[in-house]
Amino acid sequence: MKELSVENLHVTIADQAIVRGLTLRVPRGEVHALMGPNGSGKSTLAKVLAGHPDYEVTKGKVMMDGENLLELEPDERARRGLFMAFQYPSEVPGVTIANFLRAAIQSRLPDGEELEATDYYAKLYEKMELLGMDRSFTSRAVNEGFSGGEKKRTEILQLAMLEPKYAVLDETDSGLDIDALKTVAHGVNSLRGPDLGVLLITHYQRLLNYIVPDYVHVMVAGRIVRSGRKELALELEERGYDWAREGATEPVLR
């Protein structure tokens, strides 16, 4: 089955339960939005999917195209086709975007195969243009001294270059003004297609005006309390998260 699936996932950090029995399926080719209030565990889910070492999975399964992700190191997950756009991307001092991405792409090639430099740069420049980034950006160190908007664009640039099977975008809209938001959304939309599944994590409905999801899930206190078509986001916007909580099939701890 070509999907990213999470089944009855339980996650703790420092003995505190953050994700509590979460089940979710993102088939390849679809865009799923995951909405929820602060502290509901959205970002934790993203980090667990990517394999962050600080979180402990106490129960449940995470599969990508039938393969158990939880057994893989973060870099193995990435090379097999999982991408995460970070809410707070790290700086990598002294390493240029061009060199960083090149190393990342190179890591996906079989041993002994070298990335063709001219093809690489042609693709890089094409994707940068798509995201309205100046070419001089390639020689800047990754995220070093970047504005919030520049960081988010750089995340999407990496997404475009690495061509994953599944992308988890963690609060990619936070800290963006409307123009930057549109550019980022344009970038993501241009990558949509049958080969990419997207999990779009956001706090606000606003982003979903520009990246229209196929499905919307609402996460509260560590699990999904409602799922529906894109209209659910609008309803949620109107009625608020309390409404979502009330509608939960089973009681949800606050």
Binding site: A78, F86, P93, G94, A104
Partner: protein, 469 residues
Amino acid sequence: MKTETSAVNINRNIGDFFYPEAHVRDAGAGLSEKTIQYISDVKEDPDWVREFRLRGLKTFLEKPLPTHWASKDLEAIDFDKIRYYLAPGTAAKRSWDEVPEDIKRTFERLGIPEQERKFLAGVEAQFDSEAVYSNIKKAVGEQGVIFVGSTEGLKNHPEIFRKWFSKVIPVGDNKFSALNSAVFSGGSFIYVPPGVKVKHPLQAYFRINAENFGQFERTLIIADEGSEVTYMEGCTAPKFNTPTLHSAVVELVALKGAKIQYITVQNWASNVFNLVTKRGLAQENAEVKWIDCNIGSRLTMKYPSVIMKGRKARGEVLSIALANDGQHQDTGAKMIHAADETTSNIISKSISIGKGRATYRGLVHVPKHLKNCKNNTECDALLINATSRTDTYPAITVRGTGNAVQHEASVSQVSAEQIFYMQQRGLTEAQAMSLSVNGFVNDLVRQFPMEYSVELKRLIELEMEGSVG
């Protein structure tokens, strides 16, 4: 790992081999006047050199080890067990075909003849105590450039050699400069005539092959007025069970308007004590630049210095040190301002991995009577593991009102979040670490000649691969 031919072989393992010893000349173990007489006899030293050596010995014996500030590890050197002179007993050859087969094979394995053909203006190859090969490209020689071993230099060019020899670094500068003065052998003598700009680098390669041995090369480079020269040195040794000693003295003299760039990539095996004194003298408007990379050795103590003696002279030290488990890189720089409008720049970056220790010692001296002198010092340390160690000891004396000094120091760590971020893009933990370290030294490495920067990056990758996981 692919085998690469490159400017300097700093692959950690590439130097770890040796051939059976076939030395005809052997001063035996231990150091006494007899040792000195033996060395002087077989080298057929002129009397003044013999006397110089004896003075060196006396000073060496009188001086204590610098224990009050230096590593206690120095006490592990057993001066009685070291052999101070080992040589095949033949003069340096001008053609690789004439070099004895085993020795030639050693240097071929290290890629030296190939690099020579590719991009060097001249090469000297030292095997244990003596140069076995020394050659300069014809066109460079025809410009009057002299590039020979120190033994040949003092015999065939005494008028230039004697004038500057031991003038920049006196015998008694420190215990190890005295030791070198007593038993020195090998190293390069270079003279560049006025106005001659040597386009390609001259390279020396120092190879230790024998066990229980000390290598004491002595290099003297004189760039006459308005001339320019770049000198590069590389080194390797096999890893023996007993400590090996390498104690060189390097003196540079840049006359009015001359420029000397001296590049070192030190990749000794991790049992080598590397105790080296390096100093340059810059006359009016001259420039001395040290590029100093310390990757290997057990303990390195080395502080390249520049004495800016003439107006507008410039001194620069760019250094990178990488200290892994069992290594202590005790390095730094000294800038002695001795004329008006002199400027100096020190950029030092160190990386400590595992239980490795990197120490920076810097001395900047600007006396009161000088005007418009400037120094810039930047010294950054990167710690990889919680057990890694770094120390910084800057000593800056700037007197007077018309002088400026700027000092910046930082200590940073590669954060777990940064590694996770990079892993999420597909890099293994070791690749992520290695890229981070390369990023840390990147702005400095960019100032190095191409061939060196490529090799350095590769070496850092190798070091990181072994240290993570």
